[in-house]
C-alpha cells in the first residue's frame, strides 16, 4: 500500500494505492490522523481508484476518519472508488454515511 497526502487548506487530499488490509490500515490511520491534527482541515478527500484489494479493516479506517471529520463538522468524500473497494463498501453500507464522487477527469501529470 502506498499513501500520498497533500494539504490544500481547508482540504486534505489522500491518495491510496495497493492493498488496503489490516496490515496497511495502521500506517494509513497514523499518517492521516497526523495531518488531521491541523484543525483547519474541514474536508477530507480519499482518492481510491488504485485500491486493488480491500477488506473490512479498510471500512474501519474510513469510518474512523469519518467520525473525526463529523466531530469537527467537516466533510469527507471517497473519490473514484475502484471496483475492488466498491464491492466491500456496498456490503457494509458505507455510502449511507460517506459520500462518494467520481474520479477527477484530469489525468495526473507525470
Amino acid at each position: 500500500m502506498t499513501i500520498e497526502i497533500k494539504k490544500e487548506l481547508p482540504a486534505l487530499q489522500v491518495h491510496l494505492a495497493g492493498e488496503l488490509d489490516h496490515h496497511a490500515a495502521e500506517s494509513i490511520r497514523e499518517a492521516i490522523d497526523k495531518q488531521l491534527m491541523d484543525k483547519r482541515i474541514t474536508a477530507l478527500y480519499v482518492h481510491m481508484p488504485e485500491v486493488s484489494f480491500m477488506d473490512s479493516a479498510g471500512i474501519g479506517v474510513l469510518l474512523g476518519r469519518y467520525k473525526i471529520m463529523s466531530q469537527r463538522h467537516g466533510d469527507m468524500y471517497l473519490v473514484g472508488v475502484s471496483p475492488a473497494a466498491d464491492r466491500i463498501l456496498r456490503m457494509a453500507a458505507v455510502y449511507d454515511r460517506i459520500a462518494s464522487i467520481p474520479a477527477e477527469q484530469e489525468k495526473r501529470r507525470k
Binding site: D21, H22, F53, M54, D55, S56, M91
Partner: protein
C-alpha cells in the same frame, strides 16, 4: 476429473502474513479456473479470517496460524485455525457490526463479509483452546463458459 488436492500453511501471527495467506489460497484455487471476481472473493474471505486470528485469537501476541485448503471436484474448502483465546458466544460474534474491539476501529463486518463471499461458513471454537473458521465455496464456471465466441 482431477484428483483432490490440499495444502497447509503455518505462519506466525504477524499482520504482514495476511497478504501471504490470501495470495497463497488464491493461487491454490487457480486449478478450479475461478473468475477474477471469485479469486477476489476467496482472498477477501481468507484475509478476514486470518486478521481475526491475529487481532482477536492472539490479541496481538505471538502464536501460529494454520491455513488449510482443499479442492475436491469444484468445491474449495478453506480452514483458518488459531490456538488462541476462542470465541465465547459464536452467535453474537456472527452478528453484522458486532465487534468486541471498537477501540481498534474494527467494523464488526468480518464474519458478514465471509458469509457473503463464500457459500458456507462454519465456526468451531472453544474458550482458551482456539478457533477454526471453515469456509466452503463451489467454483462454478461462469454461465457463458464452454460457448464459443
Amino acid at each position: 476429473m482431477e484428483a483432490a488436492n490440499q495444502m497447509r500453511l503455518i505462519i506466525p501471527s504477524l499482520s504482514e502474513n495476511e497478504a501471504l495467506a490470501r495470495v497463497t489460497v488464491g493461487a491454490f484455487a487457480a486449478r478450479l479456473n475461478p473468475t477474477l471476481e471469485q479469486v477476489s472473493d476467496i482472498k477477501t474471505a481468507v484475509s478476514e479470517a486470518v486478521t481475526n486470528a491475529i487481532i482477536h485469537g492472539y490479541e496481538g501476541s505471538e502464536g501460529n496460524i494454520t491455513v488449510y485448503a482443499a479442492v475436491e471436484g469444484r468445491r474449495l474448502t478453506v480452514e483458518v485455525i488459531d490456538y488462541g483465546k476462542g470465541i465465547a458466544d459464536i452467535a453474537e460474534a456472527r452478528q453484522p457490526f458486532y465487534t468486541s474491539r471498537p477501540d481498534l476501529e474494527r467494523s464488526g463486518m468480518g464474519f458478514t463479509v465471509m458469509e457473503t463471499l463464500m457459500d458456507k461458513v462454519t465456526i468451531l471454537s472453544q474458550k482458551d483452546q482456539g478457533t477454526c473458521v471453515r469456509m466452503e465455496k463451489e467454483i462454478l464456471p461462469p454461465p457463458s463458459a464452454g460457448q464459443e465466441g
